[in-house]
Symmetry: C2
Subunit: 492 residues, 2 copies
């Protein structure tokens, strides 16, 4: 029988577990203090370009350094260059939160450090992934015909969707590729002109090119116009394109507009196109019973992505990709070299998630969602999202009631698009004024807003999604906007 294992040469091992225990508790204390008061930091970092880098050694240390010194440098050098996504005044892009149960989960994920590529490389990772994806599917009310796989980001989920749609064409693209084959015509997919840039990036990646993405015009509320989609498909067919996929969006990035998925699904069914729904942000709202309508028609989609790391309090990254025909995804991506063959995989008694995506290395992300849903409860998560939508409605009401501001888009979810338009602004350059206003409020360190352009007009966005954002923070943002607008126009 094997000998008892003596302790190894300490110069070769990991950190001493007792040192880890002590520093780990320091780290936990630091985080508890930090998250009790993230608003003691300016939300948008005030670091100048190169300022952080200038304080870091250009060469790696040859010898070990003390953990105390590393953590001190974290406070001294790294923290001033952090933009605080945890700050309740973070209203830019889409506000996200990696909630505390998610942080505990990430700690345990890193400690276990399993690769969820094969079932056998940790059965719990694979089976928990199946379970929590099904929990989320139930929470948003999608039919059980959808099977899920965790992708890192919605960008990659778009890649998976388009690659699956391409595979479903039956043109042998997996085997023979796309170029130099007279039997493969130019492929075209469709999304609205308000779709996220990741759709176009995915199309570039899989070889469609930018020309392979036709952007369909939107209506006055920034939603894809289905009749324009239908016409585009017809026109493209006449010109020799092969239409194969539509990406509809539930919650576009600029305005959170919701494409009319039922009408789009109708067209996709008639034309036999793959329907992917990008619900990265907006899909989460469907966990609120009275907002479930945002996913109307999505039961007819071929694939859909919802990002728990956006609006379901999950630390990045975690993107839930659902597909009605997982066999097509597997057909597109499964490659099993001998060194990854297993008896249970050959027997088909387990799911090996590596067969359903691009990356072989897969973190045990399922753990996060499991701990978060259990900590808050599905109803608790819905209550938080409901509150965010209510807060956005309040802010939109203030904008609408003000003589100096105007709303530039409907507010179906928790993001308000607006701009300053002071009563006495005739002739003023409103784009420049609003850019200055955004810079001014962001410079206070109390709020961070970002912008977009709608119909060519510079538009401010206030996106509510942080778990710590309460009415007072939204009111503070409104106060800062009014106050800074007054200051800016007074000296104009």
């Amino acid at each position: 029988m094997p000998n008892p294992i003596p302790s190894q040469n300490p110069s070769f091992g990991d950190m001493d577990p007792e040192a880890f225990r002590a520093y780990g508790k320091q780290v936990i204390d630091w985080i508890a203090d930090y998250l009790s008061q993230p608003d003691k930091y300016p939300v948008l970092s005030r670091a100048k370009p190169g300022e952080v880098k200038a304080q870091l050694p250009a060469a790696p240390p040859a010898a070990p350094e003390a953990m105390g010194a590393i953590l001190a440098d974290f406070d001294r050098i790294i923290m001033p260059g952090i933009t605080h996504w945890n700050h309740p005044g973070f209203f830019a892009y889409f506000a996200i939160s990696g909630s505390m149960p998610g942080i505990l989960a990430e700690t345990l994920i890193a400690a276990l450090n399993v690769n969820a590529m094969l079932w056998r490389t940790s059965p719990s990772a694979t089976e928990l992934e199946e379970v929590v994806l099904d929990w989320l599917r139930q929470m948003v009310g999608l039919p059980d015909a959808f099977e899920g796989v965790i992708a890192d980001t919605a960008s990659m989920a778009a890649v998976l969707a388009i690659a699956a749609a391409r595979e479903a064409l039956g043109l042998g693209i997996r085997e023979q590729g796309m170029a130099g084959r007279p039997e493969v015509p130019r492929l075209r997919m469709y999304c609205s002109e308000q779709a996220h840039s990741s759709i176009e990036k995915a199309a570039i990646l899989v070889g469609l090119g930018q020309a392979g993405v036709r952007k369909i015009p939107v209506d006055a509320e920034f939603r894809m116009r289905p009749e324009a989609l239908a016409e585009a498909i017809q026109a493209d067919r006449r010109e020799g394109w092969l239409p194969f996929c539509v990406a509809a969006t539930v919650g576009t990035t600029s305005t959170t507009s919701i494409d009319p998925v039922p009408a789009i699904a109708e067209i996709c069914e008639r034309e036999k196109l793959w329907l992917h729904v990008d619900g990265a942000y907006g899909g989460s709202a469907a966990i609120v019973p009275e907002l479930r309508h945002v996913l109307a028609g999505c039961d007819r989609a071929d694939s859909i992505v919802i990002n728990p790391h956006k609006w379901l309090f999950t630390p990045i990254d975690f993107s839930a990709f659902y597909i009605r025909r997982p066999d097509v995804l597997k057909q597109a991506f499964s490659l099993i070299p001998e060194y990854l063959r297993t008896a249970e995989g050959d027997a088909g008694t387990v799911k090996n998630y590596m067969e359903y995506g691009v990356q072989l290395g897969r973190r045990f992300r399922a753990r996060k969602f499991w701990m978060i849903v259990r900590t808050f409860g599905a109803e608790g998560m819905a209550a938080r999202i409901r509150e965010h939508v209510r807060l956005a409605g309040e802010f939109a009401g203030w904008v609408d009631a003000s003589p100096d501001f105007e709303r530039l888009a409907p507010t179906p979810l928790s993001t308000v698009c607006f701009r300053a338009r002071p009563a006495q602004s005739a002739g003023a350059d409103l784009d420049r004024l609003n850019e200055s206003l955004m810079e001014a409020v962001n410079a206070t360190g109390k709020v961070f807003l970002s912008h977009t352009k709608l119909n060519g007009v510079y538009t401010l966005r206030l996106a509510i999604g942080n778990i710590r954002t309460a009415e007072a923070h939204v009111a503070e943002a409104w106060g800062l906007l009014q106050e800074n607008l007054e200051r800016l126009t007074r000296y104009n």
Copy 2:
């Protein structure tokens, strides 16, 4: 001025920070205990398919549950389904370790939860990424012409490399795509028949198809044969293919063979092909001065990937992708929608990493490597890798000296390929015997080996890379192999 912010409705916020503090410390204690003795668990999980899932509720909880209950379920339900990558007897695939400083870093990464997509969304994340990638570049001795970007996995790095190579062709593929264009011939790339499956998967993804990857035969030591590569390129040109990229491997998955990169680089320069080097595993060895030769010729590559999450003690995921012409990568992938435009990005004074890859959502991974290199020191990391290589050499020696075992490949790094071939085995089915032997030793719970096939022969692999693996563990594996072989052959 804004009002002081009252504390928000507690039913809407995050977990209570004091509860987080208490449970966080429990989690740290759990991890310290676990990592003091990961070998008290069986390394390969003994869970049966479906066993974990059967213990989990099929529907999400509506109401909040106590963190104590969640952590208890973790121990009771999840842990039995974990395969312990931390176990010093983990010798399967490539053994990895998420070292303790890496775990502390992941905890802080989750707590900050920044998205490193734009410089302004956390200047420290972008600038630390630049710094630590340059540290690693120096550690492995690559020239400073290489610029880095962190990818999640080597699978994605292969995608980036091939997409950049495709873009460098100047065929307008980003704009016009690959299909239905007579001016775009069939594209072909090359790798050895021992290359990782992720190369082929990446090729499928970007539209080359499996036919677009020509696998070059290897020599007796499983290294790409450069003269066969040169001939293949010539033959393909004659047949109308457009050769454009070669993926060489430094440390193949089956045997860790090292392709002759200098000769391959010569061919690529002559033929004007993009040279990508997959050094996901083997590249790390170059931090050991006397092993630096593994990257010989890689200074002439166009791109190279090295995975700190494989052999540099970094929790997954973290893949360092280096490219000599980052402008080409940017040209392939940069898309800047209005909502992601920033003044500093427009001015070109900062790097916005989202322009250099597929995913917009990017974790603050740089922090991990920063803490790990500082904790161990570059020389300390090299000492650990040197020891792993020494241990593999020891094991290889035992195999070579045994009448009952034989080595099936050279051992240039820390992975030994071998099989049992008992002296009295004439006529025995050696493939079946070795499969049974692997199952038998894996069933002990003390070691986990995986297999491959070399020249059609079932081959056992013992891969050393875990930070906790010491000579005694390797000796234990050898003891178990001998003992189980004797048992298996005795009753044959």
